[in-house]
Amino acid sequence: MPSRIPRVTKTVAIVLKSRRLGDADRIITLLTPFRGKIDVIAKGLLRPRSKMAGHLEPLTMTEVLLAHGRTMDLVTQAQSVETFAVLHNDLQHLSTAMYLLELTDRLTVEHADATEIYEILERSLRALAREDGIQLVTRRFELDLLTVTGFRPELDRCLETGEPVAADEAFWTHRGGGVISSDALANYPEARKIDSHVLRVLRAYQSLSYEEASRIRIDPDLAGRLEQVMHEFVRTQAERDLKSAEFVEESRRVSLGVDAESDA
């Protein structure tokens, strides 16, 4: 039988999560641009002398060498490219980053091209690390990710009639996936009035360039309301609770209690 040389691929990846496998190994979930989301095995990662451990932590952008395995690929080398170190210095930034990772994980399927999603995640993590506003980065991330995964919320036109809806007359349905006018209420019994400030900001985030959107001032109160609407929307689309969304809210609560600072 001819000896088969194991196929080896090199790729850049963002580590989404990792879980234990046996005593020293881990299964790492990577988001790669061309192979999409993949689970790979990293051996000996929990041993103190592991050469790869710090390079495969969630929230690390890393260059990995993968040996083709029967069920899962094996990481043979890992070298971090970007560790987003500043995100590790602040609770609100860190919890936000965890949310971006979890949402990416929930809204992507394995082994499907994820070039755009990878770009969105990388761009958002870099923006967060640059200390762009948390609301701007997170909401833009959600809107972009929802768009490429086919869950783009309709913010401007009534889902039913297709007519433009004024911000202060709009109703909002998570299940329907956007705004409706009062004429369509009969078909969307769960819809309720949406805060017109929140809708105006979301519309601006969806339509303006990033630079233009970054000029919008968000006070902590509005930030909380924006977050609430988008978290609920995302939960509905992901069809599950997102623990990291709760942690973002809880981190905001304990941080505001302490330093009462605006994050916008």
Partner: protein
């Protein structure tokens, strides 16, 4: 697999951490061949541990005496609590001999991807304890693991405890003993430099 007694036993062993299907089969056939007395000893030990080992009402560590011997030990420094993720961490720190204060076991770490948030951990027990039971506490050492989840947990605790006017510290981060600089990641190396010490 048919729901026979032997298969049920194999499955039970297979559920143990780190036990694969082959090992589970070996254990099961070992028990099958062993004298009945040995099987009974194993079964008794399993039941006994579930019946007698409880969580200490103060520190949440595993114990067969409540409060546990560490919490009751008057010779320990009762002004300082070391917060750890798991009971095994208490054993590791005790073995190091470097700490003589009290402990608090969280029973996990904030890990959204595993569905664990602050409310799933023994955090409210810690707050109640500091407020109502161990009132002499002046310092909390957060000894969670130096990974993403451990850091999120320690930063969360620091913010949560800030209004209580305690000193909240965390374990120094840096290179593990036996590590190679060449292979260290940027975060670890950066921290090791930041927290450098005089020699």
């Amino acid at each position: 697999m048919a729901n026979t007694p032997i298969n049920r036993l194999i499955e039970a062993f297979h559920r143990l951490p780190g036990i694969g299907p082959k090992s589970a089969q070996r254990f099961a056939y070992y028990v099958l061949r062993a004298p009945e007395e040995e099987a009974r000893d194993l079964a008794d030990a399993l039941i006994e541990v579930k019946r007698s080992v409880v969580l200490c009402q103060r520190c949440q560590n595993l114990t067969d005496k409540n409060p546990c011997w560490i919490c009751l030990d008057e010779s320990r420094n009762r002004t300082i609590i070391c917060v750890v993720e798991e009971p095994l961490d208490v054993q590791a720190i005790e073995r190091s001999g470097g700490f003589n204060g009290l402990y608090h076991v969280l029973h996990g770490v904030i890990s959204p991807s595993d569905g664990v948030g602050p409310e799933e951990l023994k955090i409210s027990e810690l707050l109640i304890r500091i407020r109502d039971i161990d009132k002499e506490i002046i310092e909390i050492i957060v000894a969670t693991n130096p990974n993403l989840e451990g850091e999120a947990t320690s930063m969360y605790l620091a913010k949560l405890l800030q209004p209580l006017d305690l000193s909240v510290t965390r374990l120094a981060r840096g290179l593990p003993a036996g590590a190679d600089l060449e292979y260290a990641d940027d975060v670890t190396l950066g921290r090791a430099l930041e927290y450098r010490q005089k020699v």
